[in-house]
């Protein structure tokens, strides 16, 4: 107790100035880590939107942090004017026909800027000059002309795509923006209809198979009978014929011609039906395969469609599908 009262001033001094030193140290470290003491050069660029960028977004070149965004604002043409700073060490990288690419991490929403250097030997860009971004036509032109190469950052481009899809999905409440979602929904419904149509078609095919066979057999019979009949008529030496048409011109000849024609047609039909009968298992197979792959698609789409957050979950109708599938192999 005595100790504390006698040395109050010293203890309080150390206590207070210690904290001040820590505070100053912290400020210096922040300044160093944010390159505040490094000389910076200012440049301009422009984006279509400000998604993913903030006051602390960094500019990278070949994975190195070479600068960062200083400020950005929405201009009169609804584009984003961005002021960038580039650290002194990397100033000579900023050459003519370079561009800037903006990508953002869809999960954190944080973006980063990538500097795409122009063709080697380009002129050093003066301070405050405009560097096009790939958002803008002039930047895309540079890319088309192969002046710059977009870095092969696969993951970031995948993430970018996912980001686009996710952001489209997110916009379902906006009637103009929920296109993908609605397409998926409609597709799922369409598949469902298609599936039932296919089942009907399949039943039809089975029936058709049987009927074709029966018809073919009947036609065969009919054909042979007809052939016999025609043969008989080709030599009409019977009494009745002689009695009705002794010259064989009034009745026999026309009938003979009709029968010959029918014979031809029946043979053609027979060939056609035979072909159909032979080919129908194949057609059925194709139909079966397409149907089962469509079922898979449908299940997937139904899964998405019936996502717990959206609807009920995947329905338990696989039993019906299995029964239908079992029928088919017996037909082969």
């Amino acid at each position: 107790m005595k100790f504390k009262f006698r040395h109050t001033d010293k203890i309080v001094g150390i206590f207070f100035f210690g904290a001040l030193i820590i505070l100053l140290g912290g400020i210096v470290l922040v300044a160093l880590s944010q390159k505040m003491l490094v000389k910076k050069y200012s440049f301009q660029t422009r984006f279509q939107d400000a998604g993913g960028i903030s006051q602390t977004t960094n500019l990278y070149f070949k994975g190195f942090e070479i600068g960062r965004i200083k400020k950005f604002r929405l201009n009169q043409d609804n584009l984003i004017d961005v002021e960038l700073v580039v650290y002194e060490d990397y100033r000579e990288k900023i050459i003519a026909q370079s561009a800037i690419n903006k990508s953002s991490n869809p999960i954190t929403g944080r973006g980063s800027l990538e500097f795409l250097q122009g063709p080697p030997g380009g002129e050093l860009l003066p301070e405050d000059s405009y560097i096009p971004s790939l958002d803008m036509p002039e930047g895309k032109q540079l890319l088309l002309e192969n002046k710059i190469v977009r870095s092969g950052d696969v993951i970031s481009s995948i993430l970018k795509n996912i980001d686009d899809i996710l952001s489209n999905l997110k916009k379902d409440n906006n009637p103009d923006q929920g296109a993908i979602f609605r397409i998926l929904f409609n597709l799922a419904n369409a598949t469902e209809t298609l599936n039932s149509d296919l089942l009907t078609l399949q039943d039809l095919m089975v029936n058709l198979d049987n009927r074709v066979e029966q018809t073919t057999v009947r036609l065969d019979d009919a054909l042979s009978e007809t052939t016999t009949l025609i043969r008989n008529y080709q030599d009409p030496a019977g009494l009745a014929v002689n009695l009705i048409d002794p010259g064989k011109t009034e009745l026999i000849q026309p009938l003979h011609n009709v029968l010959l024609k029918l014979d031809d047609n029946l043979a053609e039909l027979h060939g056609l039906l035979l072909f159909l009968n032979q080919e129908s298992p194949e057609i059925s197979g194709v139909l079966y395969e397409s149907r089962s792959s469509l079922q898979t698609v449908q299940k997937t789409l139904q899964g998405i469609n019936n996502h717990p957050l959206i609807r009920r979950g995947i329905s338990r109708d696989s039993r019906d599908i299995n029964r239908n599938i079992k029928i088919r192999p017996e037909d082969f």
């Binding site: 504390k4 109050t8 001033d9 203890i11 309080v12 206590f15 207070f16 904290a19 001040l20 820590i22 505070l23 912290g26 400020i27 470290l29 922040v30 300044a31 160093l32 880590s33 944010q34 602390t56 999960i107 954190t108």
Partner: protein, 247 residues
């Protein structure tokens, strides 16, 4: 409403006396040193313990949740957002209210009861300049200082607990952390602690001096001081956050 106007008047008087504080010489300086000693230095242990465990808990929870998403890097963002921006100043303020806010209003209340305030007035010593100003400066300095120590210890605690999960280089941890930290964060942490200190000191002193005659008023005024200080700290925090981060 009357009480509020009186408090505003009291605040203005304290401010006026603060500006002439340099004329206040030796006597008040001793009071000031003792106030910093009591409110600041003697609370350092408690503050450090709290900061260490809070920093550790944030890392434990953060690693648990963020690790599942592969977003372990966000731990630095969370440390900065939660500790530096919010918890350091709020928790320090709560500790200061619990220890010093109560002590100040009790002490001043008892001084009124024991006629010590009248005594000061008879000496021509303004109780506001002798008692309130030195306590105000003392509490503000102590809260400010404690908040800085809280930040330091909490961030160190964060590193320490991170090392339990996977050994992490000290320099790496702190370079990542400082990359997430901005001047604004530091500025606001410090600014908040000072605003909280001012509020706590003024409210506690005012409530203490509001005691009239009876010693039974002292605990009642102390409770009021605590409640109003907490309300003030939370409202001020919301306002400052809205002012700096949302706009």
């Amino acid at each position: 409403m009357n009480g509020f106007l009186e408090f505003i008047h009291f605040t203005a008087e304290t401010w006026r006396r603060l500006l002439t504080y340099t004329r206040q010489r030796q006597a008040s300086f001793t009071v000031l040193l003792r106030q910093i000693m009591f409110t600041g230095y003697e609370a350092l242990g408690l503050i450090s313990f709290l900061a260490l465990t809070i920093g550790g808990l944030i890392i434990l929870q953060g690693n648990n949740i963020l690790g599942n998403f592969g977003q372990g890097d966000l731990i630095y963002v969370i440390l900065v957002t939660v500790v530096v921006r919010e918890l350091s100043s709020i928790l320090t303020a709560l500790i200061v209210i619990a220890r010093s806010g109560t002590a100040i209003s009790t002490e001043l209340g008892n001084m009124v009861v024991n006629q010590e305030i009248d005594l000061l007035l008879s000496f021509g010593i303004s109780p506001v300049s002798y008692l309130v100003v030195s306590r105000l400066v003392g509490v503000v300095v102590a809260t400010f200082t404690l908040t800085i120590y809280f930040n330091l210890v909490a961030l160190l605690g964060g590193w320490l607990f991170s090392s339990f999960f996977s050994p992490i280089n000290f320099n790496f941890f702190f370079s990542r952390l400082f990359a997430e930290l901005s001047f604004l964060d530091i500025l606001i942490s410090v600014f908040k602690s000072m605003v909280f200190g001012i509020g706590i000191a003024l409210i506690s002193c005012y409530q203490g001096l509001k005691v009239n005659i009876a010693s039974t008023e002292v605990p009642q005024r102390t409770i009021r001081a605590v409640v109003l200080s907490i309300v003030f700290v939370l409202f001020a925090d919301i306002l400052i956050t809205l002012m700096f981060y949302i706009s």
